[in-house]
């Protein structure tokens, strides 16, 4: 067990262990004795922890040997790809980002799980939220990944700070900026030091570049998930050199004014700890903050945190002209209170994929383990524990408050957190992350570098937009525009 999580999580784990043994007893587990499954993921404790913790139960029930291998997060993609592309195949299965899956699916490295999922009753696949079931797990209509974690970004705010200011949670990005400006400089943790209006991770080569599409999404996509927010799905022209993306960049740069001085060098972990020790009024993050904030040992903001779906915009991009147009029934069919909201499934949630090059029994054992991890009686426990890094992705997880109350959330906090999750997950205008071959080069290299230079003052917004557009076009041409377009359309379910 993880030391600082203390007694409570130990209790939860005991509970979890007990239920899992029961579950296996009833499900009539298959026999995989003698099979060793090497599963690669990144060095935890997040993600790896629940895998390692539940592996013994699975091993006891099936006789399989589960071996969790961890590598640093930033190397996971390349290490996995190198292992499979050079046919070393020392890794049998992996828990990684569905966003990367296209680089594994097109060369045929991943097992097609469609039929297995269909035959798997214990998985309760219909309980998995629609976005993950139909977009995240699938490519071209076939299922290749099993979702273990629901990843999308939300906005978090300090309920006490907002009450003090007499302001409502942000609905638009303008609201967000107004709150950040008003709160910036207030003392929020009682140490007489001025604190910050907004903390957004902006570190280069980290996990910061997703934030820009969390902002830009509301301007760029209004017609539902399959409209896409990165390229024009007809021509593969990048959606970055237009009034919508400009507005997003302006907001992104503006938030820096109300942030910590070294925001440009903060990774998500740093902003999370800043927020949980009480130094920030607002932040954009994945679901993690909800569970981290209720850990009394490391949080000063227990029950002071509210969550909401990512703020939106009252104007959206008209793709024909490249200009912004006001929201109406035609331009923003999914608008809420006249505001177009577009929750961003950044990264896509850790999911399991299986190496197609290993023998069938190993594949089956790996699938059985992922299914074991994902079934409600296990995952519904895991998503309430901060250390797992797993966030809700099943309908039953945000409809039932009991587990969250048991985990230490107040009813108010739980309904705010789960409400934001529920709103996001049920939004038909969720943005699916970029999933075309070599998407890392589009985002982690071209987009991330341009954003970092913009924030560092090396270039201005015009240069940044021009540079991202040129870089993406160059990659399209280099890798093959038609292939990329086909992959992009497949990821949007077109």
């Amino acid at each position: 067990m993880i030391a600082f999580h203390g007694v409570k999580s130990a209790r939860v784990c005991l509970l979890a262990a007990a239920t899992s043994v029961l579950a296996l007893g009833t499900a009539g587990a298959q026999d995989y004795s003698g099979v060793t499954v090497n599963i690669m993921t990144f060095t935890g404790p997040q993600i790896a922890e629940p895998l390692q913790r539940r592996a013994p139960d699975f091993e006891a029930a099936t006789g399989a040997d589960i071996n969790v291998i961890t590598v640093p997060f930033s190397d996971l993609y390349t290490r996995l790809l190198t292992d499979w592309a050079t046919r070393t195949n020392s890794v049998d299965a992996a828990v990684f980002a569905p966003q990367w899956s296209v680089d594994f699916i097109t060369p045929g490295f991943l097992v097609d799980l469609t039929d297995w999922v269909a035959a798997d009753d214990a998985l309760e696949v219909d309980d998995i939220a629609g976005f993950f079931r139909e977009f995240s797990q699938q490519f071209s209509g076939r299922t290749y990944m099993l979702t273990l974690d629901g990843d999308f970004q939300m906005a978090y705010y300090r309920t006490d700070v907002l009450a003090q200011l007499g302001m409502d949670p942000p609905e638009t990005w303008d609201d967000y900026l107004a709150i950040a400006e008003a709160a910036h400089g207030m003392d929020m943790n009682g140490d007489d030091q001025p604190d910050y209006g907004s903390c957004i991770s902006k570190k280069r080569n980290a996990q910061a570049y997703w934030a820009i599409h969390s902002i830009a999404g509301a301007f760029l996509q209004s017609q539902g998930t399959s409209q896409g927010a990165f390229f024009d799905p007809e021509t593969m022209a990048p959606l970055v050199n237009n009034a919508g993306f400009r507005a997003a960049l302006e907001i992104y740069v503006a938030t820096t004014e109300f942030g910590p001085p070294d925001e440009i060098n903060l990774d998500v972990g740093d902003t999370r700890s800043l927020f949980t020790i009480g130094r920030c009024a607002l932040t954009i993050d994945w679901g993690d903050i909800g569970t981290l904030a209720i850990d009394p040992e490391n949080s000063n903001v227990v029950d002071l945190v509210g969550a909401t779906m990512l703020p939106g915009s009252t104007e959206v991009l008209d793709r024909a002209t490249g200009e912004l147009v006001p929201c109406d029934d035609a331009t923003c069919p999914y608008a809420i209170n006249g505001v177009n909201r577009a929750p961003f499934a950044a990264f896509g949630g850790w999911s399991g994929g299986i190496n197609a090059a290993v023998d069938e029994r190993t594949q089956e054992a790996a699938y059985a383990f992922f299914s074991f991890m994902s079934r409600p009686e296990h995952s519904n426990e895991d998503v309430t524990i901060g250390i797992t890094g797993f966030n809700p992705y099943r309908v039953s997880q945000f409809e039932n408050l009991d587990r969250w109350l048991a985990a230490g959330m107040s009813e108010e906090a739980a309904s705010s957190y789960l409400g934001a999750i529920g709103d996001s997950l049920s939004s038909p205008n969720m943005i699916i992350d970029l999933r075309i071959p070599q998407n890392q080069r589009y985002q982690q290299v071209v987009l991330d570098t341009a954003l970092a230079r913009l924030l560092a003052g090396e270039i201005d917004i015009d240069d940044a937009m021009a540079q991202i557009e040129a870089g993406w076009d160059e990659l399209n041409d280099e890798i093959g525009r038609d292939d990329q377009l086909a992959a992009y359309r497949a990821s949007l379910g077109l």
């Binding site: 930033s74 190397d75 993609y77 390349t78 790809l81 592309a85 050079t86 046919r87 680089d103 097109t106 060369p107 045929g108 570190k203 280069r204 080569n205 980290a206 910590p260 001085p261 070294d262 440009i264 060098n265 090059a357 071959p437 070599q438 890392q440 080069r441 982690q444 290299v445 570098t449 970092a452 230079r453 924030l455 560092a456 003052g457 090396e458 040129a470 870089g471 160059e474 280099e478 890798i479």
Partner: protein
């Protein structure tokens, strides 16, 4: 051979065979001693160099069941030098102003004079001429690059950042290392304690040093935070300023490598001829005079060599900028190794190999030039 084995030779045929083997082995000794090292190094340098060269002129793609490499000529290099990666590798280039032109022309004239002298000297061979021409060309190119990215208002790319680490870092380390060595060479109490203490940083893993310095340099939560806020700097961040961020990298690097230079120079100082030192002191020479006339000539060859080692290693810097800032703000702290590594991490193997090759080129030219024009000269003049 001497008598002993010959006597044994007569005892029996088996011993005879053994003696013959020993004799054979003895004849081959000169090869046995050197061949393993040569072959291993050859295998580990030639093969990777060829494969990397192949990667540098190809494009890597994942294909059905594996990967495919397609030949693209010098596209990867063109991209770095003239294309979309120019800002990243060379930097943001601006037109030179009058001052920059003046400096550039001055340097060009100096290099031209140096080259002309070498060409007129009958002792300079063909290789010497070619080598000097390469050195001069690269020096001129780097000068122009320095001017356009600093004086003219441009910004550093990974090439200039790497050179900054090498030049500033190595200079700083040399000065501090030498200073400490001189202090430690005085008749002091506890010299061995200092020697061991000062040597420890070399043994700390660079990744660890990088993380330690990230903690130390944190201006709001690090140990120096009270000092920063006392000066009203608590709300500033070194990580947001390119030059401050580069300096933090250099400071971390220096913390690790000063000891190496220190310990070697201290040894050299302790080893210098005592008689001259004492004679100088008896003549009433000042400390500075003694150092300049006696100590420095004695340690110069060692200093030149240890700096060569340091320069070679300094070109490979990656851990510190990677951990401290991930290459930010913008691309301000990105070294070439880091540049190449980032490209590799996104499976841009061709681009990665191209950067690596450029690094190889620059570091070979500079290291070899340093060896020929500084180390050899120092050894020749002072030995």
């Amino acid at each position: 051979m001497t008598a002993a084995p010959a006597d044994r030779d007569t005892v029996g045929p088996s011993v005879g065979r053994r003696a013959r083997f020993e004799e054979w082995a003895e004849r081959q000794a000169s090869l046995v001693f050197i061949l393993p090292a040569t072959l291993v190094i050859l295998g580990f340098s030639l093969f990777p160099l060829l494969v990397s060269a192949y990667l540098a002129v190809s494009r890597f793609r994942l294909g059905p069941g594996g990967f495919e490499l397609s030949f693209v000529g010098f596209a990867n290099f063109r991209k770095l030098l003239f294309g979309s990666e120019q800002f990243h590798f060379l930097g943001r280039l601006e037109a030179l102003g009058p001052l920059s032109w003046a400096v550039l022309i001055g340097v060009a004239a100096l290099l031209g004079w140096w080259l002309a002298r070498a060409y007129r000297n009958p002792k300079t061979g063909v290789i010497g001429k070619v080598g000097r021409t390469i050195t001069a060309t690269v020096a001129l190119g780097l000068t122009a690059l320095t001017l356009t990215t600093t004086l003219a208002g441009g910004a550093f790319g990974s090439l200039m950042t790497t050179l900054f680490y090498v030049v500033v870092g190595c200079t700083l380390q040399f000065l501090i290392g030498l200073g400490l060595a001189i202090l430690c060479a005085q008749p002091i109490v506890g010299r061995n304690v200092f020697r061991i203490l000062f040597f420890i940083p070399v043994m700390v893993t660079p990744v660890g040093i990088a993380y330690a310095f990230r903690m130390l340099a944190d201006m709001s939560r690090g140990p120096l935070a009270p000092i920063w806020s006392a000066f009203g700097l608590g709300e500033l961040s070194w990580a947001a300023d390119p030059w401050a961020a580069r300096m933090v990298v250099v400071i971390g690097d220096s913390w690790q490598w000063v000891p190496f230079i220190f310990i070697v120079l201290l040894a050299a100082l302790e080893n210098q001829p005592r008689e001259q030192l004492e004679a100088a002191q008896l003549d009433g020479a000042s400390g500075w005079q003694t150092f300049r006339d006696v100590s420095w000539p004695a340690i110069a060859p060692t200093a030149a060599t240890v700096m060569l080692i340091r320069i070679i290693e300094a070109f490979k810097i990656i851990d510190l900028p990677n951990v401290l800032t991930n290459g930010g703000p913008g691309i301000a702290t990105e070294s070439m190794t880091l540049h190449s590594f980032f490209a590799w991490r996104t499976q841009d193997l061709g681009g990665s190999a191209a950067v690596a090759y450029m690094l190889l080129f620059v570091s070979v030219v500079i290291s070899v030039s340093f060896f020929h024009f500084v180390v050899r000269r120092a050894r020749r003049e002072h030995l």
